[in-house]
């Protein structure tokens, strides 16, 4: 019914983010749990790879505002994993390397 089309392939990125990011953002005071869940589910249904990475950039911005700690480190690890997975779908250097490097070098601006 719905063959694995090129525009569906990015969905493989979503499970860990869907499972962990809403709770981490909420715990870090950087988002509302249900609102984040709805946002992710909407993208799984009708989003695009570009929209997904726009969301991840938004998560990174909020992460930068969060205090350092175990949860922030976990969120950083989950986000970073996305940039290690996405080269299977598109050129890293052209699209994602700057953001990946930013996460790798992330220093928290507030505590």
């Amino acid at each position: 019914m719905s063959p694995i089309r090129p525009d569906d392939r990015w969905l493989f990125l979503t499970p860990e983010v869907e499972r962990e990011v809403p709770e981490l953002l909420a715990a870090l005071g950087q988002g509302d749990l249900e609102q984040e869940r709805r946002r992710i589910e909407a993208m799984i249904h009708s989003g695009t790879l570009e929209g997904w990475f726009a969301y991840l950039r938004d998560c990174r911005r909020r992460l930068e505002q969060a205090g350092n700690g175990e949860r922030a480190a976990r969120l950083r690890a989950v986000l970073l994993e996305q940039y290690l997975l996405v080269p299977a779908l598109r050129e890293d250097e052209d699209n994602d390397a700057p953001e990946r490097r930013r996460l790798e070098e992330l220093e928290w601006t507030s505590r």
């Binding site: 019914m1 719905s2 063959p3 694995i4 569906d8 392939r9 969905l11 493989f12 990125l13 979503t14 499970p15 869907e18 499972r19 589910e41 909407a42 799984i44 249904h45 009708s46």
Partner: protein
């Protein structure tokens, strides 16, 4: 503590999928000793009704005799080894071999032989079709060829309590839907048992099911896998149509209405529990790298246009998933032949694979040796 040779969290070795010795041991130690699903109770409800199947290549006929007793008999004529009964049907009084006409009573005892006086060395009283253990559980009929295996009642642990509300016995069963694949039977079973590949292999399923709540719970000789629906409508027309039109079968349990549920019955039967229909899917190992399958579909019998349409969409959707799985299994089967691959590791989302492999480890001596 990790020790050398520690197989915790690891798959079976590749050799378990490619060794003729392991395959033979599986037939002997797994299939001939297990309670194997055979048919739906409606297939053998009337006196004389029979259903044929095979276990580890052994032809078996299940039949309801004239006294209402369920029997499982070897379906091999004692004369020249021809298969006696084929497919399914009715033999109201006796079983007659289609080759030379040897005729057996419903309890397997030889009743008559054409040209009987022409045999120099025939002891008619001693000729009887071997009988096997047979039992019924939640509307499904099972056969066991070993006398040492525990009774069917407790064989699947608490699974009957979970299957009973489905009232499987009351559903209408489809004919057999046969197929075949060039895979070792465990490659297919492994693939069925884990949801870890869904995001990569089945994007359509990812939109329909809430993967973060996809959960496999291994039990005694079975695994129960919950695949809850997402609340949100899919953007794909047919997926959305299924979500909108699907209505559970009458009497379908409330707690399963929001899910697709998958059940593995050791060793090689699977039950797909959809609110609109239920499928069984059996694997019949037909060689080291060949597996024959039979699917059946069960539903309430509603012929309303809406219900037929939903069942049709369901079938199309899952046929697509099946096509995707066949491609994946092709790749795995090839990879298992690689000289560089020994064994893999398992994610927590592959816990039902681990449980399946542990059952194999317990049943088949030496299966874990690389």
């Amino acid at each position: 503590m990790s020790v050398a040779g520690d197989t915790r969290g690891k798959t079976l070795p590749a050799r378990a999928y490619t060794s003729p010795e392991v395959y033979e041991a599986e037939m002997r130690e797994v299939f001939l000793k297990a309670w194997n699903f055979a048919c739906h109770v409606s297939d053998v409800s009337e006196p004389g009704a029979y259903w044929t199947t095979s276990i580890a290549g052994e032809p078996v006929a299940i039949l309801r005799d004239r006294d209402g007793q369920l029997r499982a008999l070897s379906n091999v004529c004692r004369h020249r080894a021809a298969r006696i009964l084929s497919g399914e049907g009715s033999c109201p009084k006796v079983l007659r071999c289609p080759y030379h006409g040897w005729t057996y009573r419903q309890d397997g005892q030889l009743a008559a032989v054409p040209e009987a006086r022409g045999f120099e060395n025939l002891d008619r009283e001693a000729v009887k079709l071997p009988q096997f253990r047979v039992g019924e559980l939640c509307g499904l009929v099972f056969v066991c060829m070993s006398d040492e295996t525990e009774p069917l009642d407790g064989y699947f642990g608490d699974l009957p309590d979970r299957l009973a509300p489905l009232r499987l016995a009351e559903l209408q069963a489809s004919p057999r839907l046969p197929n075949g694949y060039d895979h070792n039977w465990k490659v297919i079973a492994d693939n069925y048992l884990e949801g870890y590949h869904i995001p990569v292999g089945h994007p359509g399923l990812l939109r329909l099911l809430d993967y973060k709540r996809y959960l496999a719970t291994p039990g005694k000789n079975h695994s129960w896998i919950d695949g809850p629906f997402r609340g949100k409508p899919s953007r794909h027309y047919q997926e959305r149509l299924y979500q909108r039109l699907m209505r559970p079968m009458a009497g379908f349990p409330e707690d399963l209405r929001g899910s697709w549920t998958y059940v593995h019955l050791w060793p090689a039967t699977f039950i797909d529990i959809y609110p609109d229909q239920i499928d069984t899917w059996q694997l019949f190992p037909a060689g080291l790298r060949r597996t024959r399958t039979e699917a059946r579909v069960y539903h309430s019998g509603s012929n309303a246009l809406r219900d037929r349409l939903v069942r049709r969409i369901n079938w199309r959707f899952n046929s697509k998933v099946m096509d995707e799985d066949v491609e994946l299994c092709d790749m795995v089967q090839q990879g298992l032949e690689s000289r560089t691959y020994e064994r893999g590791v398992l994610n927590r989302n592959e816990n039902a694979v681990l449980a399946f492999h542990d059952l194999l480890r317990a049943a088949v001596p030496g299966i874990d040796e690389p």
